[in-house]
Symmetry: C2
Subunit: 343 residues, 2 copies
DNA sequence: CTGTTAGCGCATTCAC
DNA sequence: GTGAATGCGCTAACAG
């Protein structure tokens, strides 16, 4: 018969009692290096198995002052490049015994502030946030926390500490230049108008700057709803763009997802892509290389951002554990225009 | 000039010293309900701001025996239905102050075992895992942990405790029956052969059972590589299927992603879908409703799984905090065949 | 309304 | 090779 109450987890004392030693000896046996009689250790390990003992890391952290985790905040876990970055961070951390505690802000800096505070209560040894826009209070919390901090996926003008990212504006600009080299002159833009989507806004700014540099026709922008950008948004926006600016030769989208939605909508309406209109995306999502036509996009090396952020964080934590601080670093990751069939 | 060392975080004593009270009074002021002179509280709050104090939850948990988080393990965070489920869990937890600590197993039960142990060290108040396949040791850890446990996304034969999910076999079977009603007789299957992908395997089993029930032609199955299932897999597999079984009328895929990859590959090769061959997916991913043609699939209500799991977990934790246990529950979520253009 | 004492589970330090 | 005392930051329980 099942118990109808839950006993609290066994402690080292419980294990020790069963093995006929003190809690201290159990503590030694469970870590490597301690000098323990092989026979004693064996007894202890047996007792550990029997009672199902699992170390209490809260207690351990309290005394060792190492929580062995870092926090990372990303706008969205779903259908986004950020998930890849998070995976890359996890992979770097794997061998070190440091865990990644993930939070998602849903593209809101108010949520971010709440999450930062919640995370800090758990005393992460470091923190990685997305972008450089934070509430005033969030920024203060981050500064006062006195743990290594990385802002990623962007190049903030006034970073809090470390940065791993790239210029979203430059990346979008590079795509404009690519399209220009391929003979396109009337280039539209879909998305990037929300205050909430810092990177989308930066891409649009880069688009406008590049148009200006090249002396091209004035911007034709279709706003779309709040992030996360979805396929639906692209499908709706392309129709509006064609209505409002039928002469546009190619549409740049803030995301491959909206680009894909736009392309499929065109197919449904019998508008050839890139014949009637070219469509480019951003992010090099999987859908961009399997869609038909394949989608011209900007590859942004999400995994590299994660890897670099992870490694930088490890160095910073290593220093921190020795009571030191490493100088703020800015690591710029590369991006690449990937020309494909859709333009 | 920046310090080149990191002072450790301030404690309640630090705040108290600054405000001219004891640590205990700070503790009271920071929680609501405590009877504190308004004047004192104001002084304390000011001191909190000044020193940038943030509560240490490890210490608080140690004494209150509430860590205020639950762990959830999913196979993959990227491009998967599981991320939606995780989001739904988070949403349910939102108001309660309980956080979700997410881990991803990369479809490996060995990774799952490692993660379970790592999570348990942090003393989650509950745990949600995906599926019913675990290593022997993982299962023992879960049982001995004595915290509420939910297995989701499947209906394990021998559940550890609670279950929130649906029968993947029945869902795949329902799709076979749908296709049969629409006059299809030669139905192939792509995927589901990996031991690692429990749910993929269940879907394939359901497919085979349904064929048998309906007295249809023998299974024609194309194996694809390890999960996570991707668009590439579908693109490769559809070519092999057409080569090996040119008479197949419709191909069922374990995932919308592979279905989409297959459809786009067909488009490239000039094979009409559904004219030359019909293609169905599984999961009702966004791509299924924006692809051209739109993809026939099985909608599986990921959000509902998360919502139910979250609510069940909250009830279990509430009981647990009172020292009680609720009886094991099995919540079966619905699925739905969604007929669209691709078949 | 506020302070003191004790102890959560563990590891550091010092005895033996 | 093992154990006892002490304290990490916090709060429950009791005093005043």
């Amino acid at each position: 018969m099942a118990r109808n109450w839950r006993p609290s987890a066994p402690t080292m004392s419980d294990v020790g009692r069963r093995a006929g030693v003190s809690a201290m000896t159990v503590s030694r046996a469970l870590r490597d290096g301690g000098s323990i009689a092989p026979e004693t250790r064996k007894r202890i390990m047996k007792a550990v198995e029997e009672v199902g003992y699992v170390l209490d890391q809260s207690a351990q952290s309290l005394v060792s002052r190492r929580t062995a985790f870092i926090a990372a905040l990303i706008p969205s876990i779903n259908n986004s490049n950020f998930a890849d970055t998070a995976r890359a961070i996890t992979n770097v951390l794997q061998a070190t015994g440091i865990q990644l505690l993930l939070g998602y802000t849903d593209y809101s800096i108010e949520n971010e502030e709440r999450l930062i505070e919640a995370m800090l209560k758990r005393r992460p040894e470091g923190m990685i946030v997305t972008g450089g826009r934070h509430t005033t209070r969030a920024r203060r919390l981050l500064e006062q926390a006195n743990i290594p901090l990385i802002e990623m996926w962007d190049l903030p003008l006034k970073p809090v500490e470390h940065v791993v990212g790239f210029s979203n504006a430059a990346a979008a600009g590079a795509l404009v230049h690519y399209l220009h080299r391929r003979g396109r002159r009337k280039i539209g833009f879909i998305g990037g108008t929300s205050q909430r989507d810092e990177r989308g806004a930066a891409r649009r700014a880069g688009y406008e700057t590049a148009l200006h540099e090249l002396g091209l026709s004035p911007p034709r922008v279709i706003s779309i709803a709040q992030p996360p950008i979805s396929m639906r948004h692209g499908a709706e926006a392309i129709v509006r763009l064609i209505e409002q600016a039928p002469d546009v030769e190619v549409a740049m989208c803030t995301s491959d997802l909206s680009a894909f939605g736009a392309i499929m909508e065109c197919a449904r309406r019998g508008w050839s892509v890139p014949g009637r209109i070219g469509i480019a995306g951003f992010g090099d999502f999987e859908v961009a290389s399997y869609s038909n036509p394949r989608i011209t996009t900007v590859g942004v090396n999400c995994l590299e951002i994660g890897r670099q952020a992870g490694e930088l964080m490890l160095r910073a934590i290593e220093a921190s554990r020795k009571g030191r601080v490493i100088a703020p670093e800015t690591v710029i990751t590369d991006f690449e225009v990937i020309g494909r069939e859709s333009t």
